[in-house]
């Protein structure tokens, strides 16, 4: 599904290499987790994959179901089935959450040559999905993320993910700023979307989230590379011993 090969990325404005040869494959139906110390390039990887400006790919490739992502605009990547749940969801005053969601759903459908969703159909689906994430009607009417609590913002990300029904979901530190209950709720939302056709890449600092979203594979990222991969036990090792041992082992 998602194939990243030898990906090298530097900042556009300064000569600073952030990713130094990332190799990673996420298969359909699997959940991969990436852990790693601050500044290792985890968030950059998620931004580069989803098409944020300000980065320059100097080498390597990234494909989704064989289609190269790196030449596509951000909106084309979304239509191709890629979704990024933001670490810091952006507030958009003046744009209603519902309008935003409907515009996004229909823009993707249009890009894929599908019929737009009718207002009634959309409303029915968004209400049902929102209910399962304990998102009340008021949150749907308010401007996108404006005045939302940390937990509400993250639940809103999961709502978007559910409505857009992507093939490949990247979750960038979705657990940051969440209390235990909110994290459970978000994890339940993610787990409900797990199926054999969908891949997940979960970026996190803590093992805690992985108790709720059980990964198939755990990768450790440091200094712009994946330095070690393993099963869920790798996350526990990090939780207990920190990164020092792994870093030393690799060196």
């Amino acid at each position: 599904m998602l194939n990243i090969k030898n990906l090298h990325v530097q900042l556009e404005d300064e000569d600073k290499q952030i990713l130094k040869g990332v190799d990673l494959t996420v298969e359909a139906g699997k959940v991969h987790a990436i852990m790693g110390p601050n500044g290792s390039g985890k968030s950059t990887l998620s931004y580069v994959l989803s098409g944020k400006g300000g980065y320059e790919v100097t080498d390597g490739s990234a494909t989704l179901d064989g289609e190269s992502l790196l030449e596509l605009e951000a909106e084309e990547r979304a239509a191709a089935g890629l979704f990024l749940a933001f670490q810091y969801p952006v507030e958009i005053p003046g744009v209603g959450n519902m309008t935003f969601l409907r515009t996004a759903v229909n823009a993707q459908r249009k890009a894929r040559g599908e019929d737009e969703m009718s207002a009634a159909e959309f409303l029915k689906e968004v209400r049902a999905t929102a209910k399962s994430l304990k998102i009340d009607a008021d949150m749907l009417k308010r401007p996108v993320n404006v005045g939302f609590s940390g937990g509400e913002k993250k639940r809103n990300e999961i709502l978007q993910m559910a409505m857009l029904s992507p093939k490949m979901c990247i979750l960038d530190e979705t657990d940051s700023g969440l209390d235990v209950d909110a994290m459970k709720l978000v994890a339940e939302g993610v787990n409900a979307l797990r199926d054999e056709n969908r891949g997940f890449l979960v970026i996190t600092h803590y093992q805690r989230l992985l108790d709720h979203i059980k990964p198939d594979v755990v990768h450790i990222m440091a200094n712009g590379r994946i330095i070690k991969s393993g099963g869920p036990e790798l996350a526990l090792e990090v939780e207990n011993n920190g990164y020092a041992d792994i870093l030393a082992e690799v060196e």
Partner: protein, 426 residues
């Protein structure tokens, strides 16, 4: 003080090219206004109040030509049930207009007020304009009072069942039009006036509004889509106790627009909201100049102006709130913001507060900026194409001004016109 020679000569040249309408009960008001123009002189680029907008083309004796812009959009308020009064290049068009029959309102053309003996007009015509000349001079408004040859007197006595729609059609490339309307709203009466159209190659419009205790007037104006037209408009409003005045102006295109609004809150507990949204690119200069005087206690004033500028367009805002020492408990708000869709445009803002009362809440803000890149990426990452995402954020930026329109249907019409403007530029 004598006028500088240059200004005196320019003013005389303009006045010599014009003829004061003869006779009628407004003749004294016209003569007084003419003398005000002679005393003040027409504005020139050295005047402080015209620092950001060059008045030359508005004051020169012949109007610069402006091509009539043909497009296939229907008249903006055409779908609403209104009493329609049409002017073509500043001249009343009886055939295109409805009868002036509507319960709760009496309407007459300025030219008829002698025959119909409508004395109240005399107490208003040129009166608020003259009051509005202090502390800042507005010679183009006085020029209008003196020479405007058409317009309507609207006396709102009740609550008319539908809006009055003043339509300003532009038919001649060289038309130079002046219209002057007076609107009197009786105690407890309420009406809506919708205005639309580019009016002429050069348009000088003056409206005087007098609202009695508890009266309300809602005005929404759309200044047409002509690219080359020029307009200088003045709105003078006087508000008595517990009265409400709300005005919103949409400006799309136009090479030069100066909209001045002058409001006196004389009675206690009165409310005024003045708002505007403009979108322009290229050879587009748009100036909102507002002066609100709080005299009564516990009054509320809001100024909300939003400008979307691209490709070398210029936006100007000069807004003042003057709170006199009698105006305790004043609640004043003023915001002017420009959204630059590229690096070539400019926004010039001069927000002013002058406060003499000590128990007052006044806030003001002015910003200019680009589209929020983070928000843009967020939308794109959800599959919304760049153009559509930009439009969504631009309309969101304009929303605070459009929200000032009370009528939902009118507001939606305005939004759809703004949206069309944006889509045409994809």
């Amino acid at each position: 003080m004598a006028l500088p020679e240059l200004k005196k000569t320019a003013t005389e040249a303009r006045l010599n090219a014009m003829e004061l309408p003869e006779g009628g009960c407004l003749v004294d008001a016209r003569r007084a206004a003419l003398s005000r123009v002679q005393t003040m002189g027409l504005p020139n680029r050295r005047d402080e109040y015209w620092k950001y907008t060059r008045p030359d083309t508005l004051t020169q004796d012949t109007a610069p030509t402006a091509a009539v812009f043909k497009h296939d959009e229907a008249p903006i308020f055409g779908e609403f049930d209104c009493l329609k009064i049409v002017f073509v290049d500043g001249v009343y068009d009886a055939e295109a207009s409805d009868d002036f029959e509507l319960e709760g309102v009496q309407i007459s053309r300025l030219s008829e007020i002698d025959a119909k003996d409508i004395h109240w007009t005399k107490d208003l015509y040129g009166v608020l304009e003259a009051r509005g000349q202090d502390p800042v001079q507005r010679p183009l408004a006085a020029l209008n009072t003196a020479f405007a040859n058409d317009g309507v007197a609207i006396w709102v006595t009740g609550k008319p069942s539908k809006p009055i729609n003043l339509v300003y059609n532009h038919n001649s490339d060289s038309s130079d039009a002046m219209l002057h309307h007076v609107i009197r709203v009786d105690a407890g009466a309420e009406a809506t006036v919708l205005e639309n159209g580019p009016a002429a190659a050069r348009f000088n419009k003056c409206i005087e509004v007098d609202i009695a205790d508890g009266g309300a007037l809602h005005m929404v104006c759309a200044q047409g889509r002509d690219h080359e037209r020029r307009a200088a408009t003045h709105m003078f409003a006087r508000l008595r106790k517990e009265s409400v005045f709300k005005s919103f102006t949409l400006t799309v295109n136009g090479v030069l627009t100066r909209n001045e609004t002058v409001v006196e809150l004389l009675g206690d507990d009165a409310v005024v909201h003045v708002a505007g949204a403009c979108v322009g690119d290229g050879d587009f200069h748009h100036d909102d100049t507002v002066f609100i005087t709080h005299e009564g206690e516990n009054c509320e004033s809001r100024q909300v102006f939003k400008k979307v500028l691209r490709n070398g367009a210029t936006g100007v805002f000069q807004g003042k709130i003057l709170v006199k020492d009698t105006a305790q408990k004043t609640d004043g708000y003023q915001i002017s913001q420009a959204l630059m869709l590229d690096d070539d445009s400019q926004f010039l803002a001069k927000p002013e507060l002058e406060i003499y009362a000590d128990d007052v809440a006044c806030s003001h803000g002015s910003t200019s900026g680009a589209i929020d890149e983070e928000a843009l990426f967020y939308l794109q990452s959800r599959g919304v194409p760049l153009n559509e995402a930009t439009d969504l954020l631009t309309l969101a930026f304009l929303a605070e001004a459009v929200d000032e329109i009370g009528d939902q249907d009118v507001a939606e019409t305005i939004v759809s016109r703004l949206e069309n403007w944006l889509i045409r530029r994809h």
